[in-house]
């Protein structure tokens, strides 16, 4: 029997399969379909210090083998998460990551201080939000900006810190190195790719915000390349995501250097995708005579 257990960032994951932020809520809805405790971990819906009602207009747009979204971080805020969602999430026997975003340094500080006092296992830091003090450019574009915020947060954060990288970063290897140097315990990538859809009849952008984030199988080859680049540049564990729909896709990410993976859009396509993947991953390893994923990690 294959051993799927992964030790990373000081935590023990029962398998490398987590669910990605924004595609899984806080686990409650999926727990009506299957036992979510089988997962390696759950990344919460992206949280901000204060609740947000999200973006106006169309929020979803299908593309050939892809999904664009402009939800706008609709979430109940950190306090409400801690009070109403986390206790139930902690009753699931799996690693719980709080995904935290911010629009200025202070947002992040406050969020971290509050999460420090909870029994959340891991903080996944979303640095793809626009930084209001840098003319709206996201924290995750320039590695110097990312280094600055991650190193400040590392000093105050009592939890393992996994930084979620944007594929829109100027240089993904430099970004990974900057996060490692700033003290990140791990990195996850890729967040959605900034993309554009146009309604030619209305002669305007589909989304009120013009640009939206692209995910799904169409981004997988790009995600694999970036995961490989990042994994070759740092020693901290890399959590790979981007278009994973099957156990075969997971194997590709592991071969590209990922220690953990996340299922995102796949949760929408077939709600029990993660269950299939975990089962098929074991089967694949048994069939191939692989005892531990270490044997194939980063072989490309």
């Amino acid at each position: 029997m294959a051993n799927l257990k992964i030790n990373a960032m000081g935590l023990e994951f029962k398998n490398p399969v987590l669910t990605a932020s924004g595609t899984y809520g806080f686990g409650e809805e999926f727990s009506e379909i299957y036992d979510v405790s089988i997962l390696g971990g759950i990344c919460s819906k992206g949280l901000t210090l204060n609740g947000r009602s999200g973006n106006t207009g169309i929020r979803l747009w299908e593309t050939p083998m892809g999904l664009m979204n402009s939800i706008g971080l609709q979430n109940p805020g950190v306090d409400s998460f801690i009070k109403h969602e986390l206790p139930r999430m902690k009753s699931y026997n799996t690693i719980i990551a709080a995904n935290l975003g911010g629009h200025c340094d202070e947002d992040y500080y406050e969020g971290i201080y509050k999460l420090n006092e909870t029994d959340v296992d891991l903080i996944e830091l979303n640095i793809s939000c626009p930084n209001v003090k840098s003319g709206g450019m996201a924290f995750g574009i320039k590695s110097s900006v990312a280094y600055d915020i991650v190193s400040k947060l590392r000093k105050i954060c009592k939890k393992p810190l996994m930084v979620k990288l944007s594929p829109n970063a100027e240089n993904i290897s430099e970004m990974a190195i900057a996060c490692e140097a700033a003290g990140a315990d791990g990195i996850s990538l890729i967040n959605t790719l900034q993309a554009l859809a146009i309604d030619i009849k209305k002669r305007r952008a589909v989304f009120d915000n013009i640009y939206a984030g692209l995910s799904g199988p169409c981004v997988k080859p790009i995600a694999l390349r970036m995961v490989r680049d990042a994994a070759k540049s740092v020693k901290i564990p890399v959590c790979g995501l981007g278009g994973i729909m099957s156990a075969d896709d997971v194997i590709e990410f592991i071969m590209a250097g990922a220690t953990l993976v996340q299922i995102g859009t796949g949760n929408f396509i077939k709600p029990d995708t993660a269950v299939d993947i975990i089962n098929n991953l074991s089967e694949y390893m048994d069939k191939e005579g692989i005892k531990s994923l270490d044997e194939i990690r980063g072989i490309i």
């Binding site: 595609t23 809520g25 809805e29 999926f30 009602s53 077939k270």
Partner: protein, 242 residues
């Protein structure tokens, strides 16, 4: 709710661009609920939300209009093919607490889910159905079997009454109005119900990805903040809506 591979019993065109799909499914379904449907190949990515038109003898029936590549692909499936069903989803119409007479008002493809509702309400319901013209009329005979009275309205008068269905409802006769159809029609019904102090429930359609309340793509603004059409709806009391 569950996700299953379901065998198709029938998938045929019944009217202009409207198809009837019957699949095997075992489980309780409430009127107004929907399923996410997907072909098993990867010809399109996201499952399509389709409301339940009927359910009996371990089957579920959907009526859908071919609009884009998803529904067009679904229309190519044949008897004994399989497809992915996820559901039933959403709250459905609250029919247990109804008093008095109910008007059920549908327009276009929004008529499809109302048959299952009318079957559940029986003779307590009068049905008002709005179509563009006689070429697009469907399902009327089925409604006549179950409803107390069925009124057909076409915009050009080529079948039934001429005009808009909203102009033929005597609101004062009803305790409750339940509706599904184009937003412009439902907006008018909500306004008329408010003026006549009639309870009103609307079934909303939104673009959605997950169908189960996690992607937050199908947001509906309500007096108590953002709600999810897929999970908190698709049926909303008009009092909740802004």
């Amino acid at each position: 709710m569950k996700v299953v591979k379901s065998r198709i019993r029938e998938n045929i065109k019944i009217s202009n661009r409207i198809h009837r799909l019957t699949c095997e499914f075992t489980g309780d379904i409430k009127p107004g609920q929907f399923f996410m449907l997907k072909t098993l190949d990867n010809s399109f990515l996201l499952p399509r939300p389709i409301s339940v038109n009927d359910s009996c003898d371990n089957t579920v029936t959907f009526l859908y209009r071919t609009e884009g590549k998803g529904t067009t692909k679904i229309s190519t499936l044949r008897e004994d093919d399989e497809l992915q069903l996820f559901g039933p989803l959403g709250n459905g119409f609250a029919i247990d607490s109804l008093d008095g007479k109910t008007a059920v008002v549908g327009g276009g493809i929004g008529i499809a889910p109302l048959l299952y509702l009318v079957k559940a309400l029986g003779k307590k319901a009068d049905v008002y159905l709005g179509f563009k013209d006689s070429e697009n009329v469907y399902l009327v005979e089925e409604f006549r079997k179950y409803a107390d009275k069925t009124i057909v309205v076409t915009e050009d008068g080529s079948d039934g009454e001429k005009g808009f269905v909203t102009d033929f409802i005597s609101y004062k006769e009803y305790e409750t109005v339940m509706t599904c159809g184009p937003e412009i029609m439902m907006n008018k019904i909500v306004k008329n119900c408010l003026e006549n102090n009639v309870k009103c429930y609307v079934s909303l359609e939104r673009r959605m990805a997950c169908g189960m309340g996690v992607c937050l793509g199908c947001t509906v603004e309500t007096k108590s903040g953002n709600k999810r059409a897929c999970k908190d709806g698709p049926v909303f009391s008009s009092e909740e809506l802004i």
